[in-house]
């Protein structure tokens, strides 16, 4: 069953088209991530779901109830949708406890209990209840914002780049905690981010936005392996894209003959490989694969990204490829290597 349905949403700010024909279904209990570069319209879309913006055309429904269509709109305060913005947006004139309790209708002792429970669930120490927002670290502020949004038991949770202001290490830890917390509570969640690694790790449904349009959506692994176009491929991670001639399930390209995933395709096309599908062998006796030279070595700790220039073939200049290698055995710049491929190449649409 789908919790949220977006149908043909359009929105313009003046002459600027912000959202164009957005259609998206969000399954109940899922974690959907909307990812895209800045200015792609993802935050506008999120604010529209929250009820802070209104579409020029299209409709939006939650659990079968229409939130917005051409004639009517449910105001934000009646939607029961939780919202956690980038900076947390804590009320500066309220303590942590008052912030968390803001959405609770209850005024009695049960309120204090519920606040304590919520603080516990986001791993905030109970001694922090009396603190003021400005006395908290960035990570703590985000926890309070999350607890505040969870307090009203939302039907849907919207997270607008909630981890982007945090340090790298903290970011991953917070992401895991939030994912577990929301899964335990069974809350359907939509996260907006421009960070592709965050998107891939958090999502069970990924939607890629570009220039106000939803270009592709699906399971993160599928989007990573089988993107529709080069832009999406590169947005979701490093990629090797090269021209090839497809014949009977095989691509003929600078790397030689590689099996492709799309059997029905014939003729000239662009194929894509992820760098981890390329392997290098540096032993001089190993003549298997395509010969090349390492031109650059980017040491990154556990993995090393190598730039390998294939030896020129026929009249064409040598092509440069990105190859991942374990940090310990990476050949130095100038080393002669052989490049082999793993798995299928993906044929991009025209």
């Amino acid at each position: 069953m789908n919790t949220l349905e977006l149908n043909s949403i359009y929105k313009a700010f003046g002459a600027q088209q912000a959202l164009e024909n957005i259609n998206l279904s969000v399954p109940t209990g899922s974690r959907t991530v909307i990812v895209g570069p800045s200015g792609s319209g993802k935050t506008t879309l999120l604010r529209m779901i929250a009820g802070f913006e209104f579409p020029d055309a299209g409709s939006l429904s939650l659990n079968g109830q229409t939130l917005v269509d051409g004639t009517h709109s449910v105001p934000a305060h009646q939607r029961l949708i939780g919202y956690v913005p980038q900076d947390g947006a804590l009320f500066p004139h309220m303590t942590v406890a008052d912030n968390i309790g803001f959405g609770l209708a209850d005024k009695g002792p049960a309120r204090q209990e519920r606040i304590a429970e919520l603080m516990d669930s986001v791993a905030l120490d109970s001694t922090m209840a009396k603190r003021w927002p400005h006395e908290l670290s960035g990570g703590q502020q985000q926890r309070v914002a999350l607890a505040r949004a969870l307090a009203q038991q939302p039907r849907l949770m919207l997270l607008d780049e909630p981890f982007s202001a945090l340090d790298t290490g903290l970011r991953a830890a917070m992401r895991k905690m939030v994912a577990r917390l929301l899964a335990d509570a069974g809350v359907t969640t939509i996260l907006v981010t421009h960070d592709q690694s965050e998107a891939l790790s958090f999502a069970d449904q990924l939607a890629v936005m570009r220039q106000g349009r939803l270009v592709q959506s699906g399971h993160p692994m599928d989007l990573y392996r089988y993107p529709d176009d080069e832009q999406t491929a590169l947005f979701l991670g490093d990629a090797v894209v090269m021209p090839a001639r497809i014949e009977a399930g095989w691509a003929h390209c600078d790397l030689g003959r590689i099996p492709v995933n799309n059997q029905g395709k014939h003729g000239a096309a662009q194929i894509m490989l992820r760098p981890e599908q390329l392997q290098i062998g540096s032993s001089p006796t190993d003549s298997h694969g395509c010969p090349g030279v390492v031109t650059e070595r980017d040491f990154g700790g556990n993995t090393c990204t190598l730039t390998v220039e294939l030896l020129p073939a026929e009249s064409e200049p040598g092509r440069s490829l990105l190859v991942r290698s374990s940090g310990m055995h990476a050949p130095p710049a100038g080393a002669a290597v052989h490049v082999t491929t793993l798995g299928h190449a993906h044929v991009l649409s025209d």
Binding site: F54, S73, H77, L80, Y83, P92, F102
Partner: protein, 532 residues
């Protein structure tokens, strides 16, 4: 997770009445706010309309005879000389003191910083009164320059000191690493960054020089404002006074233009977030320290010592006799009443414009705001003459009533309320209101619980600034107040006009005491802009 809806959802409301774009509420509420802002701004244009209107009515021939005469030339020379001599002195003094208290290890620099702000608590005409009673023969341009500099230099000190504190220290480090000597760093890197502070402060001082009546009347130095006042008192609403007011208004507009040209279009905000380090402190050697201390001591002696000692002398000489409570208490009461009513009125009038400028900034809002700034830059005497003329001709029932006085305060002091109120509303970004709505609060409740609560301190600060400005206002109150009105300022003025300096002293003392919180507030605000 509840699958059912809260009961209120059934009352879904039309999307159009809710349509928001970038935080702007374009509903009935938005239209009302805009209409009110336009109304307040039109009211603010009244003095300018008056100047244009009377010029039109008077006709060119009459204007020629009234304006192009030796007397006007004399006033113009006086005013221009006063501005040209006072401003550079104020700028030099303000920058020197600011640099010493902010960037050097001058002993007791925090105290000197407070003392450099304190002269603001003494109304300008009280400074003048102190000097006249100390040196009765003091008069003319030199006296005008002396008293103006010591009364107004804090207007330069405050913004320059605040900017010096806020500058990115890394920029100076980089300049030095590029081979600049410390003096060159100051003149080529620090001073240019002070430009906005200097321009703003100098404009404020300049406008005060043009508008001040009491200070110059007391030391018998004729400026446009004193001449208009005398003219008005002798001929009442004559075309001569009105024409002089026109010339004075032109001077003010010219000053605004010069200032906005001097600002230039360069960017002065930090480009990046800057470094969080403290400013580097210059170590003064023995002789320089003595010289710097001497400057601080002399400035303090002139700006605070003279008024306080003179006041003390008169209070002691007058003894208990000068504390005529039957006169003082009603004056205090009337001042407080006018102050509270004026502050409330002005703050309320500022709300729509402040709201628009934060939540829906645009060209209309900028025009509306500048209407108010231009009017408040006009001297109180021009505003007062405009209101006298307009009420006599078009609103006779409110002529010479408290309503007219309050209107004058509104026109003169609106920007003071506006600036603080705007900062207050900016404390409550629309995002927080959205947050409250997403947590189930209706738009009205969200406004009340979040925005109004957060803007309240700003509104209070603005109201306090207006209140204290009203407490010390002399010119417009003298001209507009109904018969029998006596505020502290007009009471003080009446006593000094009778050369009863001892009887005037209690009024001055009460005004200073009332102004101390204003000074404290300004000092505190300038520290806060620096993030401390």
């Amino acid at each position: 997770m509840p699958e059912t809806l809260p009961s209120g959802v059934a009352s879904a409301i039309p999307a159009n009445s809710l349509r928001r774009s970038r935080g702007l509420f374009i509903g009935r509420g938005g239209v009302w706010v805009t209409a009110l802002s336009v109304l307040v701004s039109l009211l603010a244009l009244l003095p300018i309309a008056f100047v244009i209107g009377v010029s039109w009515q008077t006709g060119w021939a009459a204007i020629e005879t009234l304006v192009f005469r030796p007397r006007v030339g004399e006033l113009l020379v006086n005013t221009v000389l006063l501005v040209l001599i006072t401003l550079p002195l104020c700028i030099a003094l303000g920058i020197s003191l600011a640099w010493l208290t902010e960037r050097t290890n001058l002993p007791g620099r925090r105290w000197w910083s407070l003392l450099a702000t304190a002269p603001l608590a003494v109304p300008a005409f009280v400074h003048s009164y102190a000097w006249v009673s100390l040196i009765p023969s003091i008069h003319g341009l030199p006296a005008g320059v002396l008293v103006s500099v010591i009364a107004y230099f804090p207007f330069l000190y405050l913004p320059v000191a605040a900017t010096l504190r806020r500058l990115d220290p890394a920029i100076e480090d980089v300049a030095e690493s590029l081979g600049l000597k410390p003096w060159a760093v100051f003149f080529r890197v620090v001073l240019p960054q002070l430009r906005l502070a200097i321009c703003g402060g100098a404009l404020l001082v300049g406008l005060h020089l043009l508008a001040e009546y009491g200070l110059y009347a007391m030391i018998r130095f004729d400026t446009f404002t004193t001449a208009i006042f005398d003219q008005f008192k002798s001929t009442f609403n004559g075309p001569a006074a009105n024409m002089l007011a026109g010339v004075l208004a032109l001077c003010c507009l010219a000053m605004l233009t010069v200032e906005s040209a001097a600002r230039g279009s360069a960017r002065y905000a930090r480009v990046g977030s800057g470094s969080a380090r403290d400013q580097r402190i210059v170590r003064l050697d023995g002789n320089t320290t003595l010289l710097a201390l001497a400057l601080q001591v002399v400035t303090c002696a002139l700006a605070l010592g003279v008024p306080l000692i003179t006041l003390g002398k008169w209070l002691i000489a007058g003894g208990s006799e000068v504390w005529q409570l039957a006169d003082l208490l009603p004056a205090l009461q009337q001042t407080l009443l006018l102050g509270v009513a004026g502050a409330a009125l002005t703050t309320c009038a500022a709300i729509p414009i402040a709201w628009l400028s934060i939540r829906a900034p645009g060209r209309l809002q900028r025009v509306l705001e500048s209407c108010n700034y231009i009017t408040s830059s006009l001297p109180g005497i021009v505003v007062a003459l405009a209101l006298v003329t307009v009420t006599i001709h078009f609103a006779r029932p409110i002529y010479q009533t408290t309503i007219t006085v309050l209107l004058a305060y509104l026109l003169m002091f609106l920007p003071r309320a506006l600036v603080s109120l705007r900062a207050g509303i900016a404390q409550a970004p629309v995002e927080l209101e959205n947050m409250a709505r997403s947590l189930g609060r209706s738009p009205g409740r969200a406004l009340w619980l979040i925005t109004l609560r957060l803007a309240a301190p700003g509104a209070a600060a603005g109201a306090a600034l207006v209140f204290l400005a009203i407490t010390n206002e002399l010119t417009a109150t003298l001209l507009l107040a109904p018969n029998g009105t006596r505020t502290l300022a007009t009471g003080f003025w009446a006593m000094t006009s009778e050369i009863d300096y001892a009887a005037a002293a209690p009024y001055a003392l009460i005004m200073i005491v009332l102004s101390l919180p204003l000074t404290g507030l300004l000092y505190h605000q300038s520290k806060r802009t620096a993030g401390r």
